[in-house]
């Protein structure tokens, strides 16, 4: 299959085949395969350094892969002739540390890409940004600078920024890891709503309870390999691999599941 196919539900939104990524001498991703069907949520779980974040960065072409291939809506995006900026326009990313632009108000953060990249009318971009902010309970914060917001508010603003360009796919990299415990819920609530609206998402997370709740597919990464994959019930309920069992046991002991 070749060429962009749009919203054909039989074509995975994201497909990775035999992806390999090294930093210096160390192999971070080793023959990783992944398929993400439209309107599904895939959770990447695993210890720190298992390659979850790198996988997401590769999917968005923020990192160049060493080998293998990645398709977005059936189009190979690791083809060197592909316009990488155009690919990134179709993928939204939310980062662990929010990465809002500190010199812009929340509204300016959100309207930057619609205006400068997608050529949207400024008034329209602002109206849509305000609508999204209202929906995420941030309507009153539109004209504040990010450093005036709590961590949870900043992360919700970052999610709005990623959504403002109507992405085909949303990548979430440990979006609650930098938040105080009482703020985690508000961000996870937003992700849950997005799932209900049919957004296709891949999320790296340490929130196992949330992953079990929201994910259609769970992948356990260990040492750059997808060691185990399946539905949430399969991976959390009856893990086949000893490594997965041990990882989950540690999580349970830490009170995180």
């Amino acid at each position: 299959m070749s060429g962009p196919v749009g919203t054909d539900s039989s074509v995975p939104v994201l497909r990775m085949e035999a992806v390999r990524k090294t930093f210096g001498g160390s192999v971070v991703l080793r023959d990783v395969d992944l398929e993400v069907a439209p309107h599904t949520v895939t959770a990447l779980i695993g210890a720190s350094g298992s390659g979850k974040s790198t996988l997401l960065r590769c999917a968005n072409l923020l990192e160049e892969i060493d080998d293998g291939a990645i398709w977005l809506d059936g189009e190979e995006i690791t083809d060197p002739r592909v316009d990488q900026d155009a690919v990134r326009r179709r993928i939204g990313v939310v980062f662990q540390s929010y990465n809002l632009f500190p010199h812009m108000t929340v509204l300016e953060n959100i309207t930057l890409a619609p205006r400068r990249v997608h050529g949207a009318d400024p008034a329209e971009a602002r109206a849509r940004a305000r609508e999204l902010l209202d929906r995420l309970g941030l309507g009153a914060k539109a004209d504040e600078y990010p450093d005036r917001l709590s961590g949870g508010q900043q992360q919700r603003a970052a999610i709005v920024r990623a959504l403002a360009v109507r992405p085909r796919l949303l990548l979430l990299d440990e979006v609650t890891a930098a938040l105080d415990p009482e703020l985690v819920g508000e961000v996870l609530g937003v992700v849950r709503d997005l799932k209900d609206e049919g957004m296709t998402m891949v999320l790296a997370t340490h929130e196992m309870g949330f992953a079990r709740d929201v994910a259609d597919q769970v992948c356990f990464l260990d040492g750059g390999v997808v060691l185990e994959r399946g539905t949430a019930e399969e991976v959390f309920g009856e893990p086949r691999q000893e490594r997965t069992r041990r990882f989950l046991r540690r999580i349970v002991e830490a009170g995180r599941l």
């Binding site: 990465n99 930057l112 990249v117 360009v165």
Partner: protein, 308 residues
């Protein structure tokens, strides 16, 4: 609660016992003995500190005065460097010359900011096409940061007219300004480059993940943050440029330094130099204070709280 006569007399129908309500809505905070004692101690310590500072300043001033006045050459020095008559004669001429320094500062300052920014951006360009530009920008900054300004000035101000090129100016002001711009652009380019590099890579990643191109990322995300952060060092370089405009006098341009020079040459009294020096200091002080103020404001915004 004590009632005032007016309240005890009653306010008529609808009159509220305002005194009591107001009392309840206010925080009835009374400073504790501990706090009063602490503040009393702090006040007495502050008084003692002021007294010590005043005494120490007085002693230092008296010692310095005695050392200078009792130096063997003081009477001669006073005559040749601090003559009130020559100072009065020099001041108007020096101020007239200073106008040239101010104009040079404004024009060169603007040119330096633009050129410095272009060079800094050229050094961050990626891709093989830009290799010559990148190399040229690096060579430029290396060369002009290392070249003493005075030599640069002499080469440009004296060397260029010697070429006798058609259509090239021999005006010492224009040539001197060019030399200043060449040197200071190199300094300022490095300041901008440091600012660009200080912007965290995650900001770039966020911008690129939104689909912004490399150029848009630089324009909308990296440069605005870099410039904001570098305002204090940039102002510092401008203060420096302001005083170095005095060096264009070596080409014969009549600025504040040259104006003093002319009087010195005639009178063999050095007072005009002191006047020119003080005038430059007076000109830079507002700018230096402004720099300090901007820096302090930025520091305050970055880190809140703490007493040490």
């Amino acid at each position: 609660m004590t009632l005032t006569p007016k309240e005890s007399g009653g306010d008529g129908p609808g009159g509220e016992p305002a005194g009591e309500d107001a009392h309840d809505t206010y925080d009835a905070y009374v400073p504790s003995r501990r706090r009063i004692e602490r503040e009393r101690h702090q006040r007495s310590r502050a008084r003692r500190a002021t007294a010590v500072a005043a005494l120490s300043t007085l002693v230092t001033a008296v010692v310095l005065y005695l050392v200078v006045v009792n130096a063997p050459g003081w009477p001669r020095t006073k005559e040749t460097f601090f003559d009130a008559g020559y100072a009065r004669e020099a001041l108007p001429k020096v101020l007239e010359g200073l106008w040239l320094n101010v104009r040079l500062l404004l024009v060169c300052g603007a040119a330096v900011l633009v050129l410095g920014m272009l060079i800094a951006v050229a050094r961050t360009l990626r891709g093989p096409v830009f290799f010559p530009l990148r190399a040229l920008a690096a060579a430029y900054t290396d060369f002009f940061r290392g070249l003493p300004l005075i030599i640069n000035l002499m080469i440009v101000v004296l060397g260029v007219p010697a070429l006798r090129l058609q259509g090239i100016t021999v005006d010492p002001v224009l040539l001197g300004g060019t030399a200043l711009t060449l040197t200071y652009s190199a300094y300022v380019a490095e300041v901008f480059r440091a600012g660009i590099e200080s912007v965290h890579p995650s900001q770039r990643a966020a911008a690129r993940s939104l689909g912004l191109s490399n150029r848009q990322t630089l324009r909308y995300v990296v440069l605005p943050q870099a410039v904001r952060r570098q305002v204090p060092p940039l102002l510092n370089d401008l203060v420096s440029l302001q005083k170095d405009t005095g060096l264009v006098s070596i080409g014969g341009a009549v600025d504040a330094v040259r104006a003093a020079d002319i009087i010195v040459g005639r009178s063999l009294n050095y007072t005009p130099y002191v006047v020119a020096g003080l005038v430059f200091v007076a000109l830079t002080i507002p700018m230096t204070r402004f720099t300090d103020w901007v820096t302090a404001r930025m520091d305050r915004r970055r880190a809140q709280g703490g007493v040490v």
